[in-house]
Amino acid sequence: MAAYDLNDDSVIVIIGSGAGGGTLANELCQKGHKVVVLEAGQRQSSTLFHNEEWFAFNQLAWLDKRTTSGNWRVARDFPNLPAWICKTVGGTTVHWAGASLRLQEHEFAAKTHYSGINGANLLDWPLTLAELEPYYAKAEYKMGVTRTNDIPGLPGNNNFKVMYNGATRVGYKTVHTGRMAINSRPRDGRSSCWQLGFCFQGCKSGAKWSTLYTEIPAAEKTGKLDLRPESMAMQIQHDAYGRATGVLYAGKSGGPQFQKARAVCVAANSIETPRLLLNSHSTTFPNGLANSSGQVGRNYMRHTTGSVFGVFKKPVHMYRGTVMAGIIQDEAIYDTKRGFAGGFEMETISLGLPFTAAFLNPGAWGAQYTELLETFPNMAGMWIVGEDMPQESNAVTLHPSEKDQFGLPIPNVHYDDHANDLAMRSYAFKRGAAVYDAVGATRTVEVPPYPSTHNLGTCRQSDKASDGVCNKWGQTHDINNLFISDGSQFTTSAAENPTLTIVTLAIRQADYISDQCAKRNL
């Protein structure tokens, strides 16, 4: 592993080591670039993961204080935990469930297709599916996505059996065990899935793709990566010409240090990325870096989520096996006859007993609730993942008074559900319940959104500099050696789980950065 000098201004600094940062780091290292990755969290490993939900949560989740506002229920249920994402080497690829779906062609042109939705700050991506397809193919190969590259699908578990039978009985056609970045066969030096049922807690079998044990070790092998865990980026600085010069960060050894850089790539997830840009304000850029559009932090999206659990007369044991290897895709279409624009995926989900108790009805107590919890072995579950509308007022902003341990303002996450989101959730709840009713559910339970795992859009891509923060390469419109390399780039959320697209954009961005370096533009 490399160790670069703080004054080495030929390194590319990447902030974050998850799907975006971890992938970008490896791609750049493979091309021979010198890379420093600043990761706020500690380095864990499959050996250190635990099949215990609370333990893993405390080990992996980003627990630094955040505040919330807006009419979303998360603000009431989890006022200081708007997002369930990770602070660890590998970022949220340690926690993710593995669902790897390409965005659909029409979803790249949401403004064109969904025009005239009041209050939605819609925009077409500056990209098309055709432009991304070769990179999607690379990402799927890299991640070993099932049902691509001749990789068989995962075997369905009990939770999927219930979903499949219910779905086909109500007439759904596209129902299978999903496109999953979880090995169904040994591949890439990693085992096939053990059906542990603890995908969210860090995969102990290593079957699930995570940058922690794929991209990062591969990058380290090149000798080009200097990975610095427990290093919290505090500020990106710039010179008189408005070019990024490097990153001030709080490292393991205490006091702030400044790492010089040739280019800076921010991949800190959609809350911390805009927070860092906003906290990097200067006399030249009083509203924060790359914020001439005023869009940094805005258009925060988190998918129209929710879950439906069905209770049956006989056991299901939903927690046995791969959590999300089951999908119904028939509703992930553009069809406004349903009363809303955009589509949604229905995916199997399961929680262990500790998190079922925590999330089935947050805040609930008493005999009615415990009676429901006693049906736990007979429950099946699905998660709804739908396209939510970007709204300018849904935003990550800096808290006016509260500061973190480094003296920096903490982020506030404001989210109001759009009428389109509410209509979709209500419809999706009914469809999910219909699936379970079709196979004899004695009861179905509509479960409100968990803290957000899909955080998107706060530094969005746009054709015009006035509409967004970065161009179709993730390069900020204002500062040519400053890049956005995570889900913050998403112009709209689409209906699909975002990780595959984040990885795809990172692979493509690495090509662009490398090319720009070769042309001496960076």
Partner: protein, 183 residues
């Protein structure tokens, strides 16, 4: 195993399950039979009558007839440990218990009376603290797993690939196109 910090995240009070594991390992509970008759654990801060009230509160917040006393007492023990670390928690628990017992001794109320009493204070930090701690301790406890039919950690058993991940037999198996055979 190091006890984790208490981290307040709004409605949830996040406590590492390390506390649970420590309690179990330290000999509070040896087997199911002992769990049935589990008595008040040794406490550092809470007085016996305070502990008895809190125990009664935990039995009312998440009542499960099929679960013995041990996981509920474990919650009280975890609260006691928190009170030992943070004097403000000790004060909150003490004040909360005192208020609960002011009109009549809480433990002596019938179930409906207990529920009504707690309903009236469910928005208070005291109630949220007890509920949050109980949510984690009770539903992470091996006795609770057993009673409610959850199999817990799977890694040491090799996962469920050979232990029934697809053993549901009351519905037809999906076709292989939807659900391929395991490797």
């Amino acid at each position: 195993m190091k006890r984790r910090e208490f981290i307040k995240t709004g409605a949830m009070v996040v406590v590492g399950t390390a506390a649970v594991a420590t309690g179990v390992a330290s000999g509070l509970i040896h087997d199911a039979a002992a769990a049935e008759q589990a008595a008040m654990p040794k406490l550092a801060v809470l007085k016996p009558d305070e502990a008895q009230t809190l125990f009664s509160v935990t039995r009312t917040i998440f009542p499960h007839a099929k679960i013995g006393d041990a996981p509920y007492w474990q919650t009280v023990a975890d609260l006691d440990a928190a009170a030992k670390t943070e004097p403000s928690v000790a004060q909150m628990l003490r004040d909360g218990v005192e208020k609960l017992n002011a009109p009549a001794k809480f433990s002596d109320l019938d179930h409906a009376g207990k529920v009504a009493t707690l309903k009236a204070i469910e928005e208070t930090p005291f109630f949220q603290k007890v509920r949050g701690a109980e949510l984690q301790t009770l539903y992470s406890h091996p006795d609770t797993f057993k009673a409610l039919g959850y199999e817990g950690p799977a890694y040491q058993h090799g996962g469920y690939i050979h232990r029934g991940f697809n053993d549901l037999d009351w519905l037809p198996n999906p076709p292989e196109s939807a659900s391929p055979k395991p490797a």
